[in-house]
């Protein structure tokens, strides 16, 4: 009795999640005339690829997509590389420093982005990093790092200290214990953090808008905004087509990486 109910709940959830994506696909295949119809339908009566043609002809979606991918992967990887050792230290060495660092990380999350955008822009300008993708990567890392640190700290804490001690008893040094015992157990946490950082960077709009000035360095969210006009009027067809294209790389990234997102690795590792 319980099983069917679970499946039903799952089905509802999947429909709920898939709805925007399916609607996006349907809109991207409709003519302007059909989009303005008062009786919307899921399946376009007169499907057209004109919206895709317009979107690709007017904006350099492929170039912008590649740049976004570069920025997102670099931001995600560098965030994890920087956050992992810090998270380990903060989780394992509980002291005044660790508590202060944790507090500081929390405080840094409280600032509204818009408050620091002008000072940040000036710092980047002094470093000659405005209008460069490297500058954008630095900004994205700055903003995902605190949360990544927070996430990873939780994962490190979930790895029982006893496992490291057991490794030491078996003769492993600290580095060996970290590399051979802790690191594999942290893999799901690292993957989750990577995903989080990747998506944050991939979708980020405001900093990209401010930091990037030349068309040849602009990222995908900036291209999508160009299909919107004043007062919320938008060119829905090309916007839907371009947005659909923009979601595909992150879907692929998810598909590749989610297999590593398994939990339960540590089940039964420590008794008691």
């Amino acid at each position: 009795m319980k099983r069917p109910l679970q499946y039903a709940a799952l089905a509802v959830y999947v429909v709920f999640l898939a709805f925007p994506l399916v609607w996006l696909l349907s809109t991207s295949l409709k003519t302007p005339r059909e989009m303005a119809s008062t009786d919307p339908s899921w399946i376009p009566h007169d499907p057209t690829l004109a919206n895709f043609a317009d979107a690709f002809a007017e904006q350099d979606l492929v170039g912008a997509g590649l740049r976004s991918l570069g920025v997102a992967v670099a931001s995600a990887v560098l965030t994890v590389v920087l956050a992992l050792p810090a998270a380990y230290a903060m989780a394992r060495h509980r002291g005044l420093m660790s508590r202060m660092a944790t507090g500081w990380v929390l405080v840094s999350q409280v600032f509204p982005f818009i408050l620091i955008i002008i000072p940040l822009f000036m710092v980047l300008r002094n470093l000659e990093l405005t209008n460069t993708l490297a500058g954008l990567v630095v900004v994205h890392i700055t903003f995902t790092l605190p949360f990544a640190l927070w996430m990873l700290q939780g994962y490190v804490r979930a790895v029982p200290r006893e496992l490291e001690e057991a490794a030491s008893v078996d003769g492993a040094g600290r580095v060996r214990a970290i590399v051979s015992v802790v690191a594999p157990l942290l893999a799901p946490g690292v993957v989750a953090t990577l995903l989080f950082s990747f998506i944050s960077s991939w979708n980020e709009f405001l900093f990209a808008l401010v930091v990037l000035k030349s068309p040849d360095v602009m990222t995908l969210p900036l291209m999508l905004a160009r299909f919107t006009g004043p007062e919320g009027v938008a060119r829905l067809g090309p916007l839907a087509a371009a947005s659909l294209m923009a979601t595909i790389p992150s879907l692929i990234f998810f598909a590749i990486i989610q297999r590593r997102l398994k939990s339960g690795l540590m089940a039964g590792a420590v008794k008691g």
Partner: protein, 434 residues
């Protein structure tokens, strides 16, 4: 495991290197003219309609071909967030050289010294081609600085379902003989039957629309006293249009109350379906109607209504030069080319708006009957400076006081006296701070 780590490390290095390389193209933007290198200008454009983007790109391309010494990079921005983008870049000292925006945004930027005063830089030909009423929309400050070149203007017209008008046998107005507000109310009542409302007033953003139309009866909503202080006023002139729209919704029931919560373009599907016979809208919305309306749907654009006059508040799209631009003279040359009459006609057509250039306005493509261009272009003569353009603190008054107060009034929740009182009393408190 080792292999994976090595791959990851290589990927990071490659990506970082790629990022560094990607940016180097941009670094050259600010380079100066020395050594015979061309001057480089960044032009931030907000064009977004397909034809308009194409026209912009084509004009920039023509310029770059003809002027190898001054190369312009076309950068597309978006209306939604251009002001956040600009404030940051102005403050950071790295703004685009040539900036597309609209006149309401210029007053604030000009007062903070972000924009160059173009008063002494404007070529005579450009200056005389654009009427003074348009220049007034970009003239600010006590010294009468000119902070942009106005080039596209929007007026309000009425888009109507032709079959319903014909069936009701109503007089079709012309620019020389427009409907009065009284006639409009009567016709809306006549057209309201069989599930059709005479009119829909989309009032999600009611303030600019109401204030622009209030000028039909001389309503200005703001007054400046001898001490130079601006205050809000809602007298008989201001109340006219408010009362008339309210009557259509609540007394005559010739306007659909459901449309009140809608944004500008939202009533269009209902309009095509015959749920509304007429829509008072900005001229640019004709583009959507032309593109979306079913094939057998016939529509006409009708001229602006007449109260004591047909005056409407004008808001212009503008091109300005950043104060921090290193090449203001070259930027001015580019602007005068970009906005010559032939180019203005192309840009106006692309955006379905009205050119400020008097020569462009006589272009055959802007006076044809097709898609209501004749009516739209003729309505430009009714445009006067919107009084609110010059009011410091207008934006705050609009969002904190006027928008909610007008929405509640049109929804029938508060009376005309109450809305007037709120607009004035709460509004003056806001304006006092500026």
């Amino acid at each position: 495991m080792r292999m994976t780590s090595a791959l990851a490390a290589a990927a990071i290095i490659a990506l970082t290197a790629a990022c560094g390389g990607g940016g180097s193209g941009g670094d050259a933007q600010g380079s100066a003219t020395s050594g015979g290198e061309p001057v480089k200008l960044n032009f931030l454009s907000l064009a977004w309609q397909k034809e308009s983007v194409a026209a912009n790109k084509q004009i920039v391309e023509e310029w770059n071909k003809a002027n190898p010494g001054i190369q312009v990079t076309y950068v597309q921005g978006s209306w939604d967030n251009v002001n956040d983008q600009l404030v940051t870049q102005f403050e950071g000292g790295d703004p685009p050289d040539v900036i597309h925006n609209d006149s309401p945004a210029l007053a604030g930027f000009a007062s903070r010294g972000y924009l160059l005063d173009l008063k002494d830089k404007l070529p005579a030909e450009l200056k005389s081609d654009i009427p003074q009423t348009a220049w007034d929309t970009v003239t600010f400050g006590q010294e009468g600085g000119v902070y942009g070149v106005p080039f596209l203007q929007e007026s309000q017209v009425i888009i109507a379902n032709k079959k319903l008008l014909d069936a009701a046998k109503v007089r079709i107005p012309t620019p020389d003989n427009p409907w009065t507000w009284d006639e409009f109310a009567e016709i809306a009542r006549k057209l309201t039957k069989d599930g059709t409302y005479g009119v829909a007033w989309p009032m999600k953003s009611p303030v600019n629309k109401t204030l622009n139309l209030a000028l039909n009866f001389g309503g200005t909503f703001f007054q400046t006293g001898p001490d130079g202080k601006t205050t809000v006023k809602v007298g008989p002139e201001e109340r006219e249009v408010l009362q008339r729209i309210h009557d259509q919704i609540h007394k005559d029931k010739s306007a659909d109350p459901k449309a009140l919560g809608m944004g500008t373009a939202d009533p269009l599907p209902g309009f095509y379906k015959g749920e509304y016979a007429m829509l008072p809208v900005g001229v640019y919305l004709r583009q959507q109607v032309a593109e979306q309306a079913p094939e057998d749907f016939e529509w006409v654009a009708l001229p602006p209504l007449k109260g004591t006059s047909s005056n409407q508040g004008a808001v212009s799209q503008t091109l300005s030069i950043a104060q921090d631009s290193k090449h203001p003279d070259e930027a001015m040359k580019f602007i005068s080319f970009f906005l010559n009459p032939a180019n203005q006609a192309k840009l106006a057509k692309g955006d379905w708006l009205l050119p400020t250039s008097t020569k462009a306005a006589s272009d055959p493509s802007l006076t044809t009957e097709d898609n209501g261009w004749d009516v739209a272009t003729a309505s430009a003569k009714n445009l006067v400076v919107a009084p609110f353009l010059k009011v410091n603190g207008y934006d705050e008054w609009k969002s904190k006081v006027a928008t909610p107060a007008l929405q509640e009034y049109f929804a029938g929740k508060i009376s005309l006296d109450e809305v007037a009182k709120r607009l004035v009393e709460e509004g003056n408190k806001v304006l006092e701070r500026y």
